[in-house]
């Protein structure tokens, strides 16, 4: 099966006659460069349940709702009541009503009617003309024309009436969709009605197949006159909005690019990423089973809700209540934001639909919840059961939906191969992810430990270091790792290494404390000695001063005594007192 790559499908070509008429079918108008050929005939062929009638009705409904164009469906196979019931679940079903913008003409031949020979469709053309005139319809769907044609009996008669119909339609100025069954599963065409393709200006083949138990739908525009087109098989799905064809949006990418950072929910990871993820970017977390991909993605969702941002948490094969319980075990509270409606938790079975159906689900969720953030766990579930190409295509579509709306997306991707340490993502979206983190197991010392590596992060100076990821009651903790002889130490070895370092640090601290105390004592002793010396100096100074004082006193007394002696002896005033013998 050939799947056209996203971004390669858009074709814009000029059209003849009336140009292109938008079908309003998501993805189809991009595929055909504008829609169906206006005022021309489009043949939609496919097997039972391939979506032919829905295709026709949806084009009519979109014409009424989006372009104010009335429509008429002429049903050769189902009653009006059956069609109304079959379409009741579609959003646009309300337009299908009597005297409404889209009417249904019951054109079934009764089972009790007798066939009395060859007939022609002139009567049909007459009544259709009358009905169209009464309703003012500009879009016409002939649903199951092959049922009526089968009554004609010969291939020649069928061909004659089909060409009669073609001429009438050409003259009518209507845009027509003609549905017919196809029985050949290989070429998706019916030998009986092959010529329908030649008379049509546009031929759309619808196919409904089962691959590995998964129902897949694809669509192929095998003919489109006046416009180059891709004839590849494109997946589509049928949701409550009707048919949605896989589309990568416009060929030229023009996503918003915010410079704002949003927290990953793990503080240390934010640091490693220079502030967190870029808002509106796509983040991919790959890893082996049990490597904490879910927890890391859930941490982001919790952080989003803590900021008051609307978030969708889409999980595959794990119910919301189970997710809430499991995350509570690692300190992540989903119960409160889920109860408040801030967090929309949706769980799907991976095999419950085709990848395209899951894309439609995500698209519908985004429409309804208008989230700022999206978590998908795991994105690799899209590839479950139907092969990587379809899953990859669906994953790319989902990321495109998110990026075009500025939604920050964190997706996990399971590694299902036999290489648990491999960093190869099974869904090859790693190339379009802005940030890619890989969780691996590192085995050493008889145990396995989780390691986180940032493989890439566009526009971000990020850490290239491996961190050990620890799950605790309080959430995720990223621990430093040690390398010894080129080997990374994790788990117990890291713990032992941390303890060794801690003990060495403590011993070093103790020695330093001792030295500090010894130095303080020595200093105190020195200061004490210094104080004692100072005091001694002071004492000695005082002693010296005292001695000098006393000397001065003694000298004074001696002078006075000499003077007195000379006076008593009657000596000359010039006699030296020192020569006078002191009295005994």
């Amino acid at each position: 099966m050939c799947i056209v790559g996203i971004g390669k499908m858009t074709i814009q070509m000029p059209r003849g006659r009336g140009g292109a008429m938008p079908s309003g079918i998501l993805g189809f108008d991009e595929l055909t460069g504008g829609g169906l050929p206006r005022r021309r005939v489009t043949v939609v062929m496919g097997g039972a349940g391939s979506g032919k009638t829905i295709f026709g009705l949806q084009v009519l409904a979109n014409g009424a709702l989006l372009h104010d164009e009335k429509g008429l469906l002429v049903s050769f196979e189902q009653s009006v009541e059956q069609l109304a019931q079959d379409c009741a679940a579609f959003e646009w079903a309300s337009v299908l009503r009597e005297n409404g913008p889209v009417e249904i003409l019951d054109a079934r031949l009764s089972q009790t009617i007798a066939q009395g020979g060859d007939f022609d469709l002139l009567g049909l053309l007459a009544v259709m003309g009358a009905k169209l005139k009464m309703s003012g319809a500009r879009r016409l769907v002939l649903d199951g024309l092959d049922v009526l044609l089968a009554h004609l009996g010969s291939a020649q008669a069928v061909r004659r009436e089909v060409y009669r119909l073609r001429e009438w339609l050409d003259a009518s100025d209507l845009t027509v969709i003609l549905t017919a069954k196809a029985y050949d599963s290989v070429s998706a065409t019916s030998k009986d009605y092959d010529f329908l393709q030649f008379m049509a200006d546009c031929v759309v083949m619808l196919r409904h197949t089962v691959v590995n138990g998964t129902a897949l739908r694809d669509l192929r525009v095998s003919k489109l006159r006046g416009a180059a087109h891709s004839a590849n098989e494109i997946p589509f799905t049928i949701s409550k909005y009707g048919i949605e064809v896989a589309s990568g949006g416009p060929g030229e990418l023009d996503y918003p690019a915010s410079s704002e950072r949003v927290s990953s929910g793990v503080e240390r990871l934010d640091t490693m990423l220079d502030g967190g993820y870029y808002r509106g970017s796509s983040v991919l977390i790959t890893g082996a089973p049990g490597s904490a991909k879910t927890t890391l993605a859930a941490a982001f969702a919790q952080a989003c809700c803590a900021r008051g941002e609307r978030t969708i948490y889409l999980s595959f094969d794990e119910g919301p209540r189970q997710v809430i319980r499991n995350m509570a075990a690692v300190g992540i509270d989903f119960k409160s934001p889920a109860a408040s409606g801030l967090l929309r938790m949706v769980s799907l079975r991976a095999r419950s639909g085709s990848p395209e159906a899951h894309v439609a689900t995500v698209r519908a969720l985004v429409r309804e919840h208008a989230p700022q953030n999206l978590v998908i766990d795991p994105l690799s579930a899209l590839a479950c059961g139907c092969g990587g190409e379809l899953g990859e295509d669906a994953a790319i579509q989902i990321l495109d939906i998110a990026k075009s709306r500025g939604i920050t997306t964190v997706s996990s991707s399971l590694l299902g191969n036999a290489l648990p340490l491999s960093e190869e993502s099974p869904i090859g979206i790693s190339t379009i992810a802005d940030t890619w983190m890989h969780l691996s197991y590192v085995s050493s010392g008889g145990e396995r430990n989780r390691a986180l590596t940032i493989i890439k992060s566009r526009g971000t100076a990020h850490s290239n270091q491996v961190r050990e990821l620890l799950l605790t009651d309080a959430g995720i903790h990223l621990a430093e790792v040690y390398t010894v002889g080129g080997e990374v130490l994790m788990g117990t070895l890291r713990w032992e290494r941390e303890n060794d370092l801690k003990r060495a640090e403590e011993a070093s601290g103790r020695a330093r404390d001792l030295r500090e105390r010894e130095a303080e004592v020595a200093l105190a002793e020195a200061r004490a000695r210094l104080d004692a010396i100072a005091r001694d100096i002071e004492v000695r100074e005082r002693d010296l001063e005292q001695v000098r004082h006393e000397r001065r006193l003694d000298t004074g007394r001696s002078v006075s005594s000499g003077d007195e002696l000379r006076r008593l002896r009657g000596a000359d005033a010039s006699e030296d007192p020192s020569e006078v013998e002191a009295p005994r």
Partner: protein, 104 residues
């Protein structure tokens, strides 16, 4: 000598016959001819025949649920039978109209 039993008389059966046709389309011409021929050879059918050209009266054809031409609609005793096609299938035409004994 046995008495000769009288031949049972068949009372005419009144029916309303509408033939929806498309002007001079070959099948419509054939159907008209086949109908006239059949009624001529079955005098017990007291038919009121109405020829309706769907190209002229398409609204009536729409209302009467006519899809293909020619279409023969036979009404009798509140019941209705339809035959599509040019009526060359005599069995189909005979089944739609009252039989010789008036059975329908």
């Amino acid at each position: 000598m046995s008495a000769i039993e009288p031949t049972p008389t068949v009372s005419p059966v009144p029916v309303n016959v509408r033939l929806y046709m498309a002007k001079n389309a070959p099948n419509s011409i054939i159907a008209r001819e086949e109908l006239e021929k059949y009624l001529a050879s079955n005098p017990h059918i007291l038919a009121t025949v109405e020829l309706i050209d769907v190209l002229d009266d398409s609204v009536r054809a729409l209302r009467d649920g006519v899809l293909v031409t020619p279409t023969l609609v036979v009404s009798c005793d509140g019941m209705e039978r339809r035959v599509i096609g040019n009526l060359r299938n005599a069995q189909a035409l005979a089944a739609a109209l009252p039989g010789p004994r008036g059975a329908w």
